[in-house]
């Protein structure tokens, strides 16, 4: 991801009110981490598993934070149990920032990633989780705000799947 796009993404999250982010580092979107760390607006929680990334974010949401959980696509599979038993069953508004590894537009796609990429949408649909695919920085702030409005309207997780320019 170009540095410009990374700041656009972080600014978009801030403009949408996201102020608590759990994460397990990954490659494609990783430039957002130092940007968020520099900004006191964000409270960051590094985690050891996406499973707890989702559960910690859920607790913070119940405590009044506007939360996101940032993870690689594989993290969706790791945290499926927590998405279902906590986020979905309790109805927690939560933004999932997912790097959509192995998708068609993933610039780093290879045999290593493609299988998890092709199973991503079926799993989200099985979980009944709304998602949007974001391939470039156009209207990024609006798209993040749309997703945040949707997560509050549904009181459920909403996923942004980042691919294309975000995976450069």
């Amino acid at each position: 991801m170009e540095p410009e796009l990374a700041s656009k993404l972080v600014n978009g999250l801030k403009a949408a009110g996201i102020n608590f982010v759990t994460y397990l580092p990954e490659t494609r979107l990783s430039q957002i981490l130092p940007l968020m760390r520099q900004d006191e607006f964000f409270q960051l929680a590094p985690v050891a598993s996406e499973a707890e990334g989702v559960s910690i974010a859920a607790g913070a949401a119940l405590g009044g934070k506007q939360v996101a959980s940032y993870m690689e696509g594989t993290g969706v599979f790791v945290s499926t149990y927590n998405l279902l038993t906590i986020a979905e069953r309790f109805g927690i508004p939560m933004l999932l920032l997912v790097s959509y590894v192995g998708s068609a537009a993933d610039k780093r796609n290879s045999f290593l990633y493609v299988r998890r990429g092709t199973r991503m949408i079926p799993v989200l649909e099985a979980l009944g989780i709304e998602y949007q695919i974001v391939t470039d920085g156009e209207n990024l702030e609006t798209r993040i705000k749309d997703a945040v409005r949707m997560m509050h309207a549904l009181k459920l997780p909403v996923v942004l799947l980042f691919t294309g320019e975000f995976t450069v």
Binding site: G17, A45, E52, A58, N82, F90
Partner: protein
Amino acid sequence: MIRYECFEWMAPLIDDHLVVTSLSGQRVEWGHLSNREGNLLLGSMGNALAVGCGLAMALPHRRVVVLESDGSILLSLFNLPTVANLGPQNLSVFVFDNQIYSGTRISEPTATAGKTDLEIIARGAGIEDAVTVRDLETFKKAALPALTGSGLNFIVAKVEESRGHRKIQRTNMDLLENKYRFVRYIEKTEGKPIFLGRG
């Protein structure tokens, strides 16, 4: 020592604490003894510690009490290093370790019945204030500062398996209703909106 007697002693000490429980036995017994709006009865394994950690981070001036079991902690052991490093100073974790998966129809031993020591794991993860207690008096001594003081506490209470919860009338408050009650309580006591978006 059995879990229920520990709960009986704890319940009157809960003031504006937020209490997160894991699954069946805990959920049923605690819900029965303490019908407070600050209770979040999760009813699933492997989530209570992480949810409690998120709550503690979001509300650093409120004491958060997590009621866990050995089976549930073992399902999400990766929480321990994470919680230790995040280091919320308002989180008290109680693990009622009966060394058994006792929600199952036929109780099977957990790893703590074998060689595993949760207190040492917690210490190794970086939670310094971790203790193991084996009788009610010691439990009270360790639990009182954890409920009334500050810091990140981790108390492993070795208890006998008891099935008392199977005789208790279960609440029919489901998870959504529990969430609304809990969130409205936080809104009331913190004076800030949590649910966003207009009707």
